[in-house]
Symmetry: C3
Subunit: 419 residues, 3 copies
């Protein structure tokens, strides 16, 4: 029996069954419906917290859910060599991560009487965390078995929750669309893992990465889904009212500007006068990543379009010039180019967020300041301090992602004979 | 002119035109906008029934609509041999069933002054009924002409409405997500029809059922759509508030657990160390079917995950061991394996619903008991009686489905020379 | 360096960059968040206009967004020869049109203190305008470079806004789903451009227009998306309450009836006893176009089904008999058959709207008359006058579309050496 065969026949089933049984036991012990979801609790309350209500949050949840599963699932099919793996393994990893993230995020976000209370907002957060794991998956695609991916996901979800807790709860960082917590974290974690798992001979199969007609169409399904639902993604957990309006609108215009920049630069840098479909499929989305932090702020459509334009430029340049350098000099084989779609645009988004926060004033935001920057509105810090916190948060995220990826990568290496 | 050609050139057009003209006449005679949809009625009311309101129900409707048309349409493309038929005929059958179901369900759900009043909720119910017809279609795929499918749909929709009326209106059964009314009914109806239409020589083309790379990707579009929107499907007609929250959440965790069970068992039972894509495409969805009845109850995420886990196991075992037995011993050629995705998980869902209902107490549900079990809350029956009603409902559903399938199958056989 | 190569290497990048920079400057100068989207303005208001609120409009926006990008993007993939162009160029043109439409529609819809105020409703309107551009794209597919398409889009968006302003603001026309403003306008504009760009030798590559299995499945993704979301499309900007209910429902039943008519007539007119997939992919959607104007009126499901049935018949006959005549006699090469899906059904929709409006009475609409026909309800005109206005609007739309297409087409011809 070959290694692959052994892995599939015995290790994957054991991993799936043991992990799911552990999850079920932990859910049985620790998890409860929140007051919006429990039959008794709901009816005992005279007033419902409509900020968290099903009717407002649920359509956002469903949009995010579609974006994660169809968007990330099909985006990676542009590599025909990995087409089916990307969809099939994505699905497994995502189903696991949703459950594990519910526990980890619930644990860090605070338990009530020893119980994790879950509802529609925790489902959105679990989907966000899953998105981050799928980004990392894009960096290591083709190097890891499904079982290694499950273990990577388990560690990554845990570190994601730690980083999210440090940023959102300890530091008071604003990052509704996850430029830092989701994109930067997922990208650099995955890049470090793929660095550790460097395989010199992976180069030989490089030509099989080439995409073909139908694979490109499948990938475009992923691209267009991500593009369409990004406004919902960035606004899913913002405050209701103007905040959610603004975030969706900023994202919409950032993506539109990014798309024109992508087509322009892709055509300009083309060898043969043809658009590179990998650019279109990926870089046109960088505008969504880059307004993940500042989207809920008073960035204006004008500001959003500038950010989107820059994100498209950076992303195409990354695919064209930076990825080959990463591979040749730093031995980082970034299979799907997540550094260009999530890494650099994520950092750009964090910087834009820090700058926009530093210039927030009561004059611009009025009473709305309390929604976007509660610490600034309450007077406990000033806007420039909030900007500083945003910048520190980027450093923290990069640190945890790189260190976490290093450790997980080494664990994989050292356990390769065992697994 | 060949038979197929005759069928297409003359019979299908005649069937389509006559059926549509009958539908139009019946709609003209019998159907009215309900008070939420009629310009005059809406403005004559001082208070609107927000439980039925467009803003709350419409996003659910649209999610269900997507699930039925994209989900069921593309799921069946995994059989390349039938790929196009599945999408093309599905579309025709679904368009017919939506209209016919509006009439049949309206008739049984009660007419007002000789008129059927329709609105967003009747559209959801028509979509549900259409889902059941498409499940049956999965069992007979490859054996029937489009015209036979139309006639099958006409009878099935009628019987669906009868069964639904007996369960929901006469017996007071709870089945919001349709484990019984939709899945069990659709599966066993279709299985009986395919049994009657048994063709020994269908075996010879069996190898053409094999799936290939792109077909698998198309089918995964169907699978992931069903998977993503199942929480909306199960919660679409539950009471608003905690009920809808809970149903969506229970379905979400059931599906996640089911997916891990499916990958694990599929790998364990694989011959060649490769995951069987048919398992992934189908069995990973069984968790949604299996919480169709109990999803709105206080099943808890813990309970939902156990149910989902079991559903995945049953479904993979069904594909691996039970389907070949059905075909060889019972001569039931279940083209798409609906017995494994809808039949057995539907029965599991009915049983889980009956048990969960039997243990419902005021202590657990509080005032919410009136939403989930109105008859128990009013004191007219006790919880164990409700459990008994649920169990009887499963038997009634199986009886009507099998008997109905038998009759429709025989009609097809005996009219085969005519049609 | 070949012409194509030059075009891609230099002209497309320059066009993309210059256009995007102009857009960014104009947005910076002219565009502001509306009062629903601005942090300060929202909190300064004690009462929010829930008719325009994010929670009500946003799900409709997202549905329209999906319909435009996935629906129109993938529908055109049925032509394998242009498959990738259709998706890739669609995406570029759409991203540009969204931004340009925001400015043009904002300019004509009225500026406030020299500023265009944008919010979720302007995003829906920009998507609508983009839909019209993509319809025209379907007529000229295969004849124009991406850069020519960008220039065509720039002029078409401008004329779209002019026509929309004349109809909705000056004449008081009702056209919520855009039978005239979107479909008729887009189709006849595109048909005139393709007439001017007539290429005799395009015929030679005609056989490469033939569709194949996987291309048909991709196109069916487009078809089914358009079909599913058309109720949301037609109802996206109608008044809330009964109007939105009614529009969605009328569209739903019109499409269902249209689908049966399409299958029936396609089979009847088939040469070889096989359904023509191009009919299914296109004509089954004509019912949505044909109730674009009357959908919000008291058309009843009965009336909607008759309209849908007729639309399907007209559309199939168009593909079968009218398109070849257009090409041979009038030298109009309608690549995707937009005349059959958008042109003739759009005119049908305008006529149905005019007739339905002319028969509107207070007795039928009650107080709801003010939502649908404000000018009739206020007594400033009577219903037959409203019908007349609707008919005039069709003539205006056709005039602007044909004249606009003529001018844009001639500009392309005369600049062909420059570009």
């Amino acid at each position: 029996m070959s290694d692959t065969s052994t892995n599939m026949r015995l290790k994957l089933p054991i991993a799936c069954f043991i992990l799911e049984i552990i999850l079920i036991i932990l859910f049985g012990t620790l998890v409860q419906y929140d007051h919006e979801t429990d039959a008794k609790a709901w009816h005992n309350e005279s007033h419902h917290d409509y900020e968290n209500d099903f009717y407002y949050r649920y359509p956002s949840f469903q949009d995010v859910h579609v974006m994660i599963f169809i968007g990330f699932g099909f985006l990676m099919t542009f590599l025909q060599r990995y087409g089916f793996s990307s969809v099939g393994f994505n699905f497994l990893i995502a189903a696991f991560s949703l459950q594990w993230a519910t526990l980890m995020q619930g644990f860090f976000h605070g338990m009530h009487g020893g119980k994790i209370h879950i509802g529609v907002e925790s489902m959105i957060n679990a989907d966000f965390c899953t998105g981050s794991v799928l980004i990392s998956f894009g960096a290591v695609l083709g190097k890891t078995s499904p079982m290694q991916l499950l273990i990577m996901a388990m560690f990554e979800v845990t570190l994601f929750a730690v980083n999210e807790f440090i940023l959102l709860s300890l530091l008071g960082t604003r990052d509704a669309g996850g430029s830092m917590t989701i994109h930067t974290f997922g990208a650099y974690f995955g890049l470090m893992v793929t660095r550790i798992l460097y395989r010199p001979n992976l180069d030989k199969s490089k030509h099989r990465n080439s995409s073909v007609y139908h694979s490109d169409l499948f990938a475009m399904i992923g691209t267009i889904y991500l593009w369409m639902f990004w406004p919902s993604f960035n606004s899913a957990i913002t405050a209701h009212g103007d905040d959610q309006h603004r975030t969706a609108m900023n994202t919409y215009y950032s993506l539109a500007a990014c798309t024109l920049a992508t087509y322009g630069l892709s055509a300009l840098t083309a060898h043969d006068g043809k658009l590179d479909m990998v650019h279109i499929q990926n870089a046109a989305l960088a505008g969504g990543v880059a307004v993940g932090t500042a989207g809920e702020m008073m960035l204006t459509p004008f500001g959003s379009m500038i950010v989107g334009f820059l994100a498209g430029i950076i992303s195409v340049l990354g695919f064209k010039f930076f990825s080959p350098i990463l591979e040749e000099k730093l031995k980082i084989q970034d299979t799907c180019g997540v550094h260009n779609l999530h890494g650099m645009p994520g950092i750009l988004g964090a910087i834009v967020g820090a700058v926009t926060a530093a210039f927030a004033t009561k004059d611009i935001y009025g009473e709305g300041l309390a929604d976007v920057f509660p610490d600034v509105a309450s007077g406990s810090i000033d806007a420039s301090k909030q900007g500083g916190i945003q910048a520190i948060s980027l450093a923290v995220t990069l640190g945890i992602a790189l260190l976490g990826g290093l450790i997980v990568g080494w664990c994989h290496i050292s356990s390769v004979d065992l697994m």
